[in-house]
């Protein structure tokens, strides 16, 4: 009986490839995953890297481009052309890319890694003939020259990442990945009115990775050292677990981060995940008065005694407590804790309201294949009930999130 063989890396190059070249291509594949290129450059249901994914911007819809080695994609790109696009934000045609392409972050990718990425995209990706789609942005906003001006103003100089003298090499590796290919700031750093990220690296101030405004119904939360709404309460080990499997003993991935875990982070080596975690844990808190979470048992004791008079308490018992429990601790690695969970205490409650309304499914990963689904409650709970239970969660067990209003919920109902 024939054994089933799983190809780990298919080569699509017509010429023969040396062992060194194969290693370079493999390295490029790994880096492409670190950069999560596939997420934006693949349409829903489309071929990998063939582009066509619609992306909403404030001025209209743009479509990601074909980056397969077909002539409709990168087929005739030299390394210099490729590098110019990825790190400098300038297409082969000479026009400037929309900054939906995070070239300001990629500017710090090293030359060696660029060579590996180029080798992978030219030889390790299946060519797909699929013409790029023009944007739906109306004239005059469709003109590209202001993009060039934007680039001159906001994009950093292209220079491989330089670690500060005497820096912990693990933290430096983490910084290189987070600030560079990982382009974490694209979602997790707030943007100015002119749409540039307020900081592109840890050295540019506490705005870096301090959390964003809602994007597609979710907040990309702060990754800084704050206990209330950052990663202050997370250990390095929990972060590594979370990035690798989408879950830790007290938390579970949801919203936009799910795809990042599935397509990118679960493929990272243990060393790189450790580096990312240690680097993120090195970012100081934004709030100078930041304090660790203090668990308050009053709410749990009231619920144990059957006292559900507090607004939202009865809704919580009927809908949430089976999994997240009356003490807010959830169940290890299965149902996330709400007590002390930074995601439920963010200044903007969009994510919590959204997940109560629409539910969410914890995605399967290679090393943690189980999916857990939190049901949607939009059909069952009124705006006021959702607001009550969200406020209850944000203010119970020592949590410090501000209450929300029924109107906030109404705004998020689709």
């Amino acid at each position: 009986m024939k054994a089933f063989v799983i190809a780990t890396l298919a080569l699509f190059s017509s010429c023969s490839v040396s062992a060194a070249q194969t290693d370079l291509i493999k390295q490029g594949q790994y880096l492409a995953r670190a950069g999560d290129c596939v997420a934006c450059h693949t349409a829903k249901g489309g071929k990998p890297f063939a582009g066509g994914l619609a992306m909403e911007t404030p001025i209209g819809v743009i479509y990601s481009t074909n980056i397969t080695p077909d002539k409709t994609g990168l087929g005739d790109y030299s390394f210099a052309d490729f590098d110019k696009a990825v790190r400098h934000g300038v297409a082969k045609s000479g026009s400037t890319l929309y900054p939906a392409m995070p070239y300001p972050s990629y500017a710090r990718v090293s030359e060696t890694d660029m060579q590996a990425l180029y080798a992978y995209f030219m030889n390790g990706v299946e060519p797909v003939a699929q013409a790029n789609q023009d944007s739906d942005i109306p004239w005059p906003l469709s003109m590209r020259w202001p993009l060039a001006a934007w680039r001159w103003m906001f994009a950093p100089e292209v220079a491989g990442y330089q670690a500060p003298a005497g820096a912990d090499p693990v933290i430096s590796r983490g910084a290189y990945l987070v600030e560079g290919l990982g382009h974490c700031g694209a979602c997790h750093t707030p943007r100015a009115l002119t749409m540039q990220e307020k900081a592109l690296s840890a050295s540019q101030g506490t705005a870096f990775l301090s959390g964003s405004a809602p994007l597609e119904g979710w907040i990309a939360k702060s990754l800084r050292g704050d206990h209330k709404d950052g990663l202050g309460s997370w250990s390095e080990e929990q972060l590594v677990q979370f990035l690798k499997t989408g879950r830790s003993d007290r938390s579970a991935v949801f919203g936009g981060m799910s795809d990042v875990v599935v397509h990118s982070m679960q493929y990272m080596s243990e060393d790189d995940l450790n580096a990312i975690a240690r680097y993120l844990k090195s970012l100081p808190a934004v709030d100078p008065k930041d304090q660790p979470h203090q668990y308050d048992k009053q709410v749990a004791e009231a619920l144990w005694k059957g006292d559900d008079r507090q607004p939202g308490a009865a809704v919580y018992i009927d809908n949430c407590a089976a999994c997240h429990r009356t003490d807010g601790h959830g169940y290890t690695r299965v149902f996330p804790a709400l007590a002390g969970n930074p995601v439920v205490q963010t200044a903007d409650a969009t994510s919590l309201i959204n997940i109560v309304l629409n539910g969410g499914t914890l995605p399967a990963t290679h090393t943690a294949p189980s999916t857990f689904t939190m049901p949607a409650f939009a059909w069952r709970l009124s705006d006021q009930e959702v607001a009550d239970v969200v406020s209850f969660i944000r203010g119970s067990w020592g949590n410090q999130g501000a209450p929300v209003k029924a109107g906030d919920v109404a705004d998020l109902r689709k």
Binding site: M1, K2, A3, F4, I6, N319, A322, C323, Y331, T332, R333, V334, F335, T361, A364, H366, T367, A368, P369, S370, T371, F372, T373, P375, R380
Partner: protein, 594 residues
């Protein structure tokens, strides 16, 4: 003309426990595996979505997860002298349908086996002599021992995330005073999870059983006592005793099922494909009739599809496995007159008795909570744990309180003499709903010459194929045993000092009633054994006649067990898979020479 699919290494018919276990094992061995499930895709989400799944009308009453008998059912008669009629409403047993099969809607009582029940005929003949077993009782040995199966019981429990208390581990006493079962055979390791907590009614049973001199223990349960990650990386949540277990999809991910415990891992491998809505009509054989070439099935669009394969696993429900063998011409059909032939032989069931005890209002049993696998049991009258000599019957029975949750429609039970409707009924329901304890004797059932399965000569299914015909009735041995067990369990009930007791046992001359639920523990029809003249499968669940067809499931049991069958079904499937992986794939052919 059937569409012919690309050949695969193995095709599996049915995706319940046995199909899922085989799929996992064979993909691990590198085979390309396709599983065909005749029902729809089902999973915790959306089918077990909270709170929609907490719906007794949809699930228990309208039988959402069970087989659709408008397309295919069985015909039933009590003896060869009767005319069998189609079963038009599920009652006595509830076969599953869809991905997960009965493994999605089961309760979760997860036993091993009492070792003597694997060598039933030899053991009884050795202890009680050649003439103790009645002449028409056709019990046999399985052909495999507990010691051989122990590693596979152990592994299955780790996959299922089973909660329980060991009595001995590698010969060391560990379970005394902690809820271990002194009659349980030795184990190589502890249960993966500690026992679930006991409900109050189970605690009452425990105290009463101890008072009358029995030895109570915690039921081993495939409902989790805490969060759990199994060897496949699949995770389970903790059981919260919601009371909606049997007949429902578990919304807490806490009842073991193929869907929760195995399918997530299979979804991660490229050499596995699950095709729901694929109804297999037959196994195709080559011209020699000694080798299968694949199966033919009807897909969701009603098209006839042929799936060629080197290996065919029949992993459907017990009687569907038997019917597929009969429809495909695998093995010689059993003839009850001559006693010859093997397919359809030794069809056996379960032999249940129930006692309900009603209490005053100061005894709060809170019957609305419960977990399907949870409870306290005694084995003092199970298997051959007592001397059968003076009693003149074969078989034993565990007894237990297994409070699985009394739901509002079916869960109302009142003391004898209460009117069945009106204000007196309402008053009694209000008085007794949370003040009663129900206990069962879950008796073993033996096989007999006259209880068997064959193809019905008259009735056909939606595809024009003959229905399976059950010829089945209770025998004198069954009634004797049932009455004995009622007497022994009655002592426990009395020791609880209830206000009233109701006994639901079998009466002399009683016939099999298709309308009243017993269990879904149907056994036999494609039994394993050591002799091709008296069994359809060898000890590795391989067909004697067609070496590339394996048939795991309770269809392989030569008679029914005192315990619930799923634990043995799972262990035998792992045992069979090991033989396929280590022996068959290297040298395809009969694993036992006839």
């Amino acid at each position: 003309m059937a569409t012919i699919m690309k050949k695969v290494d193995a095709v599996i018919v049915g995706f319940g426990w046995t199909g899922a276990i085989m799929a996992k094992e064979l993909t691990e061995a590198g085979l390309h595996v396709v599983a065909l499930e005749r029902g729809p895709m089902q999973d915790t989400y959306p089918d077990g979505n909270y709170p929609q799944v907490i719906d007794e009308l949809t699930y228990s009453v309208r039988k959402k997860l069970f087989q659709d008998i408008s397309k295919e059912t069985v015909t039933i008669r009590h003896s060869v002298n009767d005319i069998a009629l189609p079963n038009r409403q599920l009652g006595a047993f509830l076969p599953g349908n869809g991905v997960g099969g009965a493994g999605l809607h089961w309760s979760g009582v997860h036993f091993r086996v009492d070792p003597i029940e694997l060598r039933m005929r030899s053991h009884y003949e050795e202890r009680y002599g050649k003439h103790f077993i009645p002449k028409d009782m056709t019990i046999q040995d399985f052909g495999v021992s507990y010691e051989e199966l122990e590693p596979f019981f152990d592994y299955a429990e780790k996959v299922f995330g089973t909660s329980g208390q060991a009595w001995t581990v590698k010969g060391q006493l560990v379970g005394e005073g902690k809820g271990g079962n002194p009659y349980a055979p030795d184990r190589s390791s502890h249960f993966p999870l500690e026992s679930q907590k006991n409900t109050y009614s189970a605690q009452l049973f425990q105290q009463a059983a101890t008072a009358v001199g029995y030895k109570p223990y915690n039921l081993p349960s495939a409902n989790t006592s805490g969060p759990y990650t199994n060897p496949y990386g699949a995770q389970m949540g903790p059981c919260n005793f919601c009371g909606f277990c049997s007949g429902y999809v578990c919304y807490m991910y806490s009842k073991a099922s193929p869907n929760v415990n195995i399918l997530p891992a299979l979804r991660q491998v490229p050499n596995f494909e699950l095709r729901p809505n694929s109804h297999v009509l037959k196994v195709n054989l080559d011209s020699s009739k000694r080798k299968a070439t694949g199966v033919t099935y009807i897909d969701a669009q009603g098209r006839e599809i042929e799936q060629p394969a080197d290996l065919v696993i029949l992993g459907a429900f017990q009687f569907h496995n038997v019917r597929l063998m009969l429809l495909s011409g695998i093995g010689k059909p059993y003839d009850p007159i001559s006693g010859e032939g093997v397919v359809g032989k030794n069809f056996a069931y379960q032999n249940m008795a129930t006692i309900k005890a009603y209490f005053d209002k100061d005894v709060h049993t809170n019957n609305f909570i419960g977990a399907g696998g949870n409870g306290v049991a005694v084995d003092d009258f199970n298997a051959d744990n007592f001397d059968h000599g003076p009693h003149g019957f074969v078989g034993g029975s565990p007894m237990w309180v297994n409070q699985a949750g009394s739901r509002p429609i079916a869960g109302t039970s009142n003391p004898p003499g209460t009117p069945a409707w009106g204000s007196a009924w309402k008053r009694a329901t209000a008085d007794y709903y949370t003040h009663q304890v129900s206990m069962d004797a879950h008796g073993a059932h033996q096989s007999y010459r006259g209880n068997y399965l064959d193809l019905d000569p008259v009735y056909r299914d939606a595809y024009g194929l003959p229905l399976l015909r059950m010829t089945f009735d209770w025998q004198e041995n069954d009634i004797k045993m049932n009455r004995f067990m009622v007497e022994k369990m009655g002592k426990i009930a009395e020791a609880m000092n209830p206000k009233a007791i109701v006994v639901l046992g079998k009466k002399v001359g009683e016939h099999f009633n298709t309308a009243s639920y017993q269990t879904t523990h149907l056994n036999g029809g494609a039994i394993m054994g050591t002799d091709p003249k008296t069994s359809a499968l060898n000890r590795y669940l391989q067909c004697w006649d067609v070496h590339n067809v394996f048939v795991p499931g309770a269809s392989a049991f030569p008679q029914g067990l005192g315990y619930n069958p799923t634990g043995l079904v799972a262990a035998l499937t792992y045992w069979s898979a090991r033989a396929i992986r280590e022996q068959y794939l290297k040298n395809p052919g009969p694993l036992v020479q006839a």
